[in-house]
């Protein structure tokens, strides 16, 4: 519990991530689009190491009833965290699971303070 320095801020550049063991838990910190995010490295599905998965995009589709057309598009490139065990998808900025909207990755407060990246459990 408490505050944990996980890295010097300079070691975590835009697009980087790290996984640290904090008080017996694996916590991942991402710097993405200028913001820091800290999530438990534990997929809600079967406990896979989700935060070590690919950052990818995903397909989204809409149906236009009037035109009777489905439009399919590949979106959110780099924003979708995919568990390497079974492919469960999460939105990186919110931690929301794309297939189970009520499920989120457990998150922790994280900030840059005096040149350090600090996670609070």
């Amino acid at each position: 519990m408490g505050e944990h320095v996980v890295a010097a801020a300079s070691e975590l550049q835009e697009g980087d991530r790290l996984v640290a063991e904090l008080a017996g838990r694996e916590v991942a910190v991402f710097r993405f689009d200028g913001e820091l995010y800290a999530y438990l490295n534990w997929c809600a599905h079967q406990g896979g190491p989700v935060c070590e998965g690919a950052l990818t995009g995903t397909y989204e589709a809409t149906y236009d009833r009037e035109a009777n057309e489905v439009s399919l598009s590949w979106n959110r490139e780099g924003e979708v965290l995919m568990c390497p065990w079974h492919g469960w998808e999460y939105d990186l900025p919110s931690g929301e699971c794309l297939s189970q909207r009520s499920t989120r990755l457990p998150s922790y407060p994280v900030e840059e303070r005096n040149g350090d990246v600090v996670v609070t459990l």
């Binding site: 079967q46 079974h86 492919g87």
Partner: protein, 359 residues
């Protein structure tokens, strides 16, 4: 593999995993083959497991694991998942081998490879010998040949793409050999090319892997189960057990009750049966947990398990395949809903009974 601390309540239990797979490179298998097969299988125009080009690994973003040697298997399955006794199969897709004689030769090579490279390496390892369904007589001979191997505990039958439905009387010679040697049967279904053999019209019309993968395993098992019962196979071999791998449980209640209904109306078309299909299934059939169904309400999974019966349920991970289940996916339900004695049965004792394992 993630290593959150204090996470496995399985450490204190004996655990048998009835579905652990190898992926043996053809060049390695060739060393166990004689000519001309040795040269033939080094220059295949198919792959050992024909994946039919599907995007099975989601563009490479989900793991394609393998267990290339006994030490890796022990580390990943026994240490990583707290499995005490993995029941290992070589996972050959012999139904996709076009020449029957080559399939039969490869069958023997796969079994020798499994023994030499895995089963002989760790006391805890157990194995299923594989058979080629192209030639039931050769399958029976292979069961005879392997029957003296104490680490071989059963017969692995790929029932997707089998050359006849598996209750056909041509297979009785295979089942008789298995029963004579106390080697029980495990049917394993498969997506991809074997699915296309059984269901070519549907396969041609499907254009997402999810569709074929949802349907491939239960469809194959439904065909096998129906064929076994209509032909009276469990009545012919009352001491033989039949385990169904890789389709979970949720397909079973429908079959129990539909087969009962049809048998009541059309008994003369299954005249060998002396009791209801449900009774044969409860007494001689077993079902592996993977892939665990994921109902929105966990209570519904308990309802399914209760209908199938906890005595008929076996733990399986299907590791290292992409859709494996961590053992806790089943065990957390067992801990939540069942007494410890029932849990111990599912984790080990039922598998001991299904395969007459000597642990």
């Amino acid at each position: 593999m993630s290593t959150q601390t204090n996470r496995s309540p399985l450490t204190e239990n004996t655990v048998v995993d009835v579905d652990v797979h190898l992926r043996i490179p053809l060049d390695d298998l060739a060393e166990y083959c004689d000519e001309p097969y040795r040269s033939t299988i080094k220059h295949p125009t198919y792959t050992a497991v024909n994946r039919s080009g599907w995007d099975r690994y989601m563009g490479g973003n989900i793991q394609k694991e393998s267990l290339p040697d006994a030490d890796t298997l022990y580390e990943k399955v026994c240490d990583g998942f707290d499995i005490d006794y993995p029941l290992i199969n070589a996972f050959p897709v012999l139904a996709s081998v076009p020449e029957d004689d080559r399939a039969v030769h490869m069958m023997r090579a796969y079994n020798d490879y499994l023994l030499d490279n895995y089963l002989d390496e760790y006391d805890e390892f157990r194995g299923l010998l594989s058979v080629a369904t192209q030639d039931p007589e050769a399958a029976a001979e292979e069961i005879e040949r392997m029957s003296s191997e104490e680490k071989i505990e059963g017969v692995y039958v790929l029932n997707s793409g089998a050359h006849l439905p598996l209750g056909h009387p041509d297979f009785d010679v295979m089942y008789r050999a298995a029963a004579d040697h106390d080697l029980h049967i495990a049917f394993h279904a498969s997506a991809g090319a074997p699915f296309a053999r059984d269901f070519p019209i549907q396969d041609n019309a499907i254009n997402r892997f999810m569709t074929t993968h949802v349907l491939a395993h239960p469809w194959a098992h439904m065909l096998t189960m129906t064929s076994l019962l209509v032909n009276g196979t469990p009545e012919k071999f009352p001491d033989l057990n039949f385990t169904f791998l890789e389709a979970g449980l949720s397909w079973v209640p429908y079959m129990l009750f539909r087969l009962n209904k049809e048998y009541g109306m059309r008994r003369r078309e299954a005249p060998l049966l002396e009791k209801s299909p449900e009774e044969y299934i409860r007494e001689q059939f077993y079902f592996a947990s993977q892939p665990m169904g994921e109902p929105n309400d966990p209570q519904h999974l308990k309802d399914i398990i209760d209908i199938v019966g906890t005595d008929s349920l076996l733990l399986a991970t299907d590791y290292p395949h992409w859709d494996f289940d961590h053992p806790d996916a089943l065990d957390r339900h067992l801990r939540q809903f069942y007494p410890e004695e029932t849990r111990e049965g599912v984790l080990a004792d039922n598998a001991v009974e299904a395969f007459d394992l000597s642990l």
